[in-house]
Assembly symmetry: D2
């Protein structure tokens, strides 16, 4: 009834793509290149390699590449995509966004990071504005585990302590999560649902807010551990399939 993608097997090693708009870095914003001289994507990818080892093949893609590095072929060969964007959400082509959504619906996993909350990909999958409060003072963030039995929180210290980070505060306009995994507090007193999951189509979606171009958050091993756990959790669970609305005659299932 539904057409099956011609994808290669989704067994080990996990095929992971870290996408970055890569704009702070290419224009050499001092605050960004201080901690991420080769791009946030490089540091995230290295962290995943360190934690996933031979279980994963991790590559990167950026806005500046043709089709933003996310061709049909590339996505069909991707088990889990990570998305980092901030100031260039509007530059992401609608056709590429639609392609990413189609692959998530068919079963590709997606991790959306920090300011990716305002990306086209995330807002279209959630269906809300994803608005929030913010302040870039570089204050302490504590990331508290809400569900200690979830695979994404396995082996993660509770709380994770981030010495300096941008504040993201509630009200965060998201649909009620399927699973609420982390809640953060900030030195200024605000709170934020900083880790949450949703299902969309056959795909799994994990949002994790810690991480910013101006602070070395992605260099922390605990943060890398959360992302590695997230990648493992978000991998396709079943064959990737395009979901369609199909006619079924009476008793089609009777054997």
């Amino acid at each position: 009834m539904s057409s099956t993608h011609e994808t290669t097997s989704s067994t080990s090693p996990l095929r992971v793509v870290v996408w970055n708009e890569n704009v702070h870095e290419t224009r050499r914003d001092p605050e960004a290149i201080r901690h991420y001289p080769d791009g946030i994507h490089s540091v995230i990818a290295d962290g995943l390699r360190a934690h996933l080892g031979a279980d994963a093949e991790v590559s990167t893609a950026t806005l500046q590449e043709p089709e933003h590095g996310l061709t049909e072929e590339r996505l069909a060969a991707t088990d889990v995509l990570l998305w980092w964007g901030h100031i260039a959400h509007a530059q992401v082509e609608d056709e590429v966004v639609a392609r990413v959504l189609r692959h998530v619906h068919a079963g590709m996993g997606l991790l959306v990071l920090h300011s990716g909350h305002y990306s086209k990909v995330f807002t279209r999958l959630l269906g809300t504005t994803c608005s929030l409060k913010w302040r870039g003072d570089g204050e302490r963030e504590l990331v508290w585990t809400i569900d200690p039995t979830h695979p994404i929180t396995a082996g993660v210290p509770n709380p994770i302590q981030i010495p300096e980070q941008e504040m993201y505060g509630e009200q965060f306009d998201i649909p009620a999560p399927d699973e609420l995994l982390f809640i953060s507090s900030f030195a200024g007193g605000e709170v934020f649902r900083s880790g949450a999951t949703w299902r969309r189509g056959r795909g799994r979606l994990f949002y994790f807010s810690p991480g910013d171009q101006a602070f070395p958050v992605y260099h922390q091993a605990e943060i890398q551990q959360v992302l590695a756990n997230g990648v493992r959790w978000a991998r396709p669970q079943v064959e990737r399939v395009d979901l369609t609305a199909d006619y079924h005659p009476k008793d089609w299932f009777v054997s």
Copy 2:
């Protein structure tokens, strides 16, 4: 921090707009005009008037009107919008869709009906494909109440019996509902989550599947009761506000 819409008060009477693509009717499909000679929207609107009385001002809008009848002014003066579409989803302009989404996010209520499951408005608010199984044989549908304490199920017989209806069957590709209110079974044995709610932004969303251009479902008083209950439930609960991401300095809240 957030800008407030210049809307008139959302107090009584409730301002309700029933939107219909109105294509089966304008091209005089025999199966549609048999039961809905003046359009499905007319019958739905009359049913709401019968059940809501002086509590509501009910009007209609169709695809064929300028801006599909859904101008900025019209939506700003609408508390709850009902959406019926089937074969012309692609003809709905993206600008109008974006406008409807913005008003839902700000607090306007939305009821999506039957084949509206595949509308741009619904799929973009839910973020899934909204695919399902179907069969147009005109078989008995039983609509069972799952939550008898919810205002939308108040005064509704359990089950509602629909003598002839199109079959819609699982798997229905929707996000896990915030509230699952009705599950239907069909004579052929299929089941369907036929009534469910979600929150999106500050708006309330209710999907209700019974109702089709080929069958006189919207003439049934019990179905009209559900829709009237849904309209009352979906009305804005608080002031309509555009949600935005705003800077908040440290201690902004300290008095």
Copy 3:
């Protein structure tokens, strides 16, 4: 099929009972009688009266009364019960607990407050241990609104600032709430899901953690507003009915 309680009408005025174990007070613990010389229940009841006015008849009951003041007759005439306990949970008789649960299942509303998280009533309705972290240093609590459209958060400042309060911290062992309304942060950095709702049977359940025998939290108008909103929200929505498992012959519903 189900037997209907012989209750009087649940229409206005709302019949509200504030229950308190009343042990800190009767044994004259200095920290408790400093702020609650006549018992925490008196202050809570007065706050409800101030905010609900003629909409409610508010009375109180305590552990020390026969059947803890919660006879069958009394509960049958109660729309919403509030529960405060701390050091005497074990002294509450199982028969009274079972009676309260039966009335919640039939439709009575229940608000569980602060250290009531460990009461028999709450743990048996949730089915979890309701364990948490705590510290009684009297530090600032900020209570943040997560859902600004919910009736329980209406008219409540965001955040509510509590100058001195006991710290309750995650992981709070509760089932995933049906609705997460408030998250608190504390000066020490911990976070807590401080306001949440669940449905049990036909009854509505609201847990709200701010409030402690040692701090004057229940004297704050904003806290009283939340409790008053909670009482209005938790009132029975439909006729109170004992739910039972009943035989239904084939076609019992066919008219």
Copy 4:
């Protein structure tokens, strides 16, 4: 802060106990011994062995054994417990029930089957009455998959066809499931949420309704597959720990 159970490792093989009240069988009810001459537990256990192979050590326990076969030692050495009961719920000792709950809260998995919906164990974990409609005519049940990506539905035909089964119908008084996996329809037209999961403490809970003493449902390979999937899914994910409420001094987490 929390005390760790002295349990043996929860790694392979999975230690599974199938519990049966075993009353229909011991009193030789003709309808029960026709399909389950050695007890329902024997057939369920054999089905699990067939599907889990060397991954699991499956044993059984019954009401008639000392402490119902569920001693502290036995439960501490059990990864997943399956529960079948019908007419003897009241004979299960409260002490054993409390012990089972404590182990579920610490992390033991639990599968509750069919008429176990009314067991003390299930109703106390869910906190609702778990009432439903029923009819024992032996009619066709179709079990439809709602979430095809969940590990419990993996490899299961959609729908599962059960030629003859007891009807269980909505309204089923349960808390909104964390995950709704199966919905059944019956020849008579009723529907039922026949497969659902909840988390309680650190434990995972799966309810699956197909299966009755009078019909050979547990002999069907597809039903056995669901139970085997459920056992794999419900196994403890992390170390088993008793959850407690503990004092934490300020800055306890600061390194």
